[in-house]
């Protein structure tokens, strides 16, 4: 699966972004540039789906794919071969990285600890070493237990049923991975290495397949009314405005109130480029954020037309194409803002 994702990324980035760009995308780098690219190249589904990937591992994968004749490497850039293209259209993913990347790590820890805790307590096994060390997650599990201490057995049955129902919508290998990853009733879950070994797949496949299960889980649970009360509990409080960084939020606050660049720079003691990054970040996330104070409607249209005519999202090409009339910031901002209008063509829609 990981290979298919990498091929998809190579295709979407059209040799306009380096392998580093893929790395930042998959590890979910919280920068305006990466988030904007994710949208511009319609790979936001993959944003942050493999946070522990290392650069070295990624380049090993790329070299392997190139060795198989699926991609061509040209320095830091990669492009698909005809053979690589063949492999693409058949895959379907249900990722939603940009929306869920911050939820999944918490959900995963909550679920692992909740299953371990509740199954142990339901058999009166009071002494067990929690496999999740996170203090916040432990406090959350304690809270859930406190509210359900009288109905632990029913709780365990219900959680079992909910999980089984979700897993039956996943592929068999995904269901296997999650079932064997969980710890409960004195059975200890397997590590990524062990899961990879057991099903004879790459460790990075284990990572993304498990992520995939969690993305599916969140989607189903969010879309349901009350079929999954306990899993709903597990994603509670993870929602909301976390898509932009705290710092960008503060800049947004001043922009909304009509402050000028100079005033915000002065107030926040930040460089102009940082403020610009914040504004682009907000434009990416907030659909009705007006950018007219930075680029007029006409100029926006001009920039968009040029991008379309040149069939590129590469800033430098657009910048040159417009004879350097607009700043990079104005181009980035325009592209970011108009993502929202193009949403229909997002990755999820096009390949699933």
């Amino acid at each position: 699966m990981f290979d298919a994702i990498l091929l998809q990324c190579v295709q979407q980035l059209r040799s306009e972004r380096t392998i580093s760009g893929i790395y930042h995308l998959l590890t979910g780098k919280l920068s305006s540039q990466t988030m904007q690219d994710a949208k511009a190249y319609q790979v936001e589904a993959f944003f942050g789906i493999h946070k522990s990937l290392s650069r070295e591992e990624l380049s090993r994968h790329m070299e392997r794919l190139s060795g198989k004749g699926l991609i061509v490497l040209n320095g830091q850039y990669a492009s698909l071969t005809e053979e690589g293209k063949q492999l693409i259209s058949e895959r379907s993913f249900r990722f939603d990285g940009l929306a869920y990347h911050q939820h999944v790590p918490v959900l995963e820890k909550r679920l692992m600890l909740l299953v371990q805790t509740m199954t142990s307590l339901s058999t009166n096994e009071k002494s067990f070493v929690p496999i999740i060390d996170d203090r916040k997650v432990q406090a959350w599990v304690r809270g859930v237990y406190a509210q359900n201490r009288k109905v632990v057995k029913d709780f365990v049955k219900e959680l079992h049923m909910e999980l089984e129902s979700i897993l039956s919508t996943c592929s068999t290998v995904e269901a296997n991975l999650l079932s064997y990853r969980l710890t409960g009733s004195g059975i200890i879950g397997l590590t990524y290495e062990q899961l990879a070994e057991k099903w004879n797949i790459h460790k990075d496949d284990v990572h993304v397949l498990l992520q995939h299960v969690f993305h599916i889980l969140i989607r189903i649970v969010k879309g349901s009314t009350n079929q999954y009360p306990l899993l709903k509990l597990c994603i509670e409080g993870l929602d909301a405005s976390k898509l932009i960084t705290e710092s960008a939020k503060r800049t947004y606050y001043y922009v909304e109130r009509g402050w000028t660049f100079e005033e915000i720079m002065e107030k926040r003691r930040l460089k102009k480029s940082t403020i610009q990054d914040h504004i682009v970040e907000v434009a990416l996330v907030v659909p009705d954020f007006s950018i007219e104070s930075f680029v007029s409607k006409e100029d926006q249209a001009l920039i968009r037309d040029t991008a379309e005519a040149l069939e590129t999202k590469r800033l430098k090409d657009i910048f040159q194409g417009l004879n350097q009339r607009f700043s990079y910031f104005q181009i980035r901002l325009t592209l970011a803002h108009h993502q929202h209008q193009e949403k229909g063509g997002s990755l999820r829609g096009s390949i699933s």
Partner: protein, 506 residues
Amino acid sequence: MDPLAKQLSQYFGYDSFREGQRPIIEDVLKGEDVLGILPTGTGKSLTYQLPSLLQEGMTIVVSPLISLMIDQVKQLKAQGFKSVVAMNSFINYQERKRIMTNITQYKLLYISPEMLQNEWVLDQLTQIKVDLFVIDEAHCISQWGHEFRTDYLKLHVVLEQLRHPTVLALSATATPEVQDDILKKLKREGMKKRIYSMDKQNISFAVKELRSPEDKLVQITQLLQRTRVPAMIYFSSRQWAERAAVELQSKINQRVAFYHGGMEQTDRMLVQQQFMNDQLDVICCTSAFGMGVDKQNIRLVIHFHLPSQLESFIQEVGRAGRDGNPCVSLLLFSPKDHYLPQLLIEGELPDPNEISTILQKVDQYANNQGKLPDVEHILEELQLSESQWNFIHYQLEERGVFNGQSILQNADNTSLKTQLTKVVQQRWKYKQSKLTEMIHWIHSTTCRRTALYEPFQNHIRPPKVPCCDMCSFDIDQLDWQEGMSVIEEVSWQERLANVFAGGQKK
């Protein structure tokens, strides 16, 4: 039942004390200072955990091993003790503040020695009543101990500031020389000594010389093809631990995993718990594994690499056979093996030839800002390891050049340079001599048991198992098979049902 035994059973669920526990607990409750030397795996921690529950004031435990600290706190909490907390550099500022402002809620505080150097923390601790001050791994206070820690040397000052609480110093491996040094450095020469034998009567020793690491792997494979018991294999490098695990997985029909400090935290926890719950047979690990792991039925401890000293070796084989049943130690070595521990020693001590460069830099810091920059900055600029810098820092503090971060006087002078060079060379010599001791042991042609424990105790008890490969033990004849429950390979639905079995049992 007498009151102490009753409390033991009530709080910990044990029927009886193990050797040494009761006398130490009784001394401590009477307010006597005690030096306790108890071998690994005999329940050292109980000697302060029980008193902490029985006394009204606070028990403070200084421990240099953060993972041990965390494991113990976890274990105690799992047993239902809530008023225990650990404080170390992993804990962030807010958390620290929260702990310290609620300090009276706790009865047992684990703390790292560097945390005790924090003035604010110490100040908070002087506000409360401390009944017992425990120094775990007390050999760290002695530079003749195998893990010298400079921040341990300031503990006598802490004791003074806490108005002299009862002291319990504990160690598993301390030669008579180190024992005396502990008393001296704590300025408590009148401490009562409670020394218990560290020789394990249920372990058989074997050493094998092989030509290469590959040959070692072949040896281990052969041994594990005919023996299936809970086993640990120690490596001094992560790469080798991983490599051996992968190779063994393909060659022997046992459940093998590796464990080292570079793994993701959850995965580390899973491997540790699998091993504890007999869901793994063989664990290939670095010394990061094992501290605080209280698994009773480990039968086999193999050393793939040479430990840098006898004390580490004794501690590591001490993890075998805690249930009292027979167990085996096998140490493998090849001709070039001593290079690796030598490299480790080099990482701990500064190069004598670099002393003068370091002192010049210190003077530059003094001229520029009058104090030392961040540690990371120093390490980067001088290309030193953390322990190398700690060594220098301690030595210069002792000589009145530093006081914490401030620089009080110039450092770059001949006298200081000569002194430091001499100290470094002494430490080098000492570490080298420890390594030589270890190398002598593997080459010894007399009884290994006697040679191993002789430096630590006068009388060595006769073993209850075949002694060693110099006496009567032949590891090539070993073919232990221990029945271990193997969880069947099942479909995901069945696996999930097993994990949730708790809900289905009536």
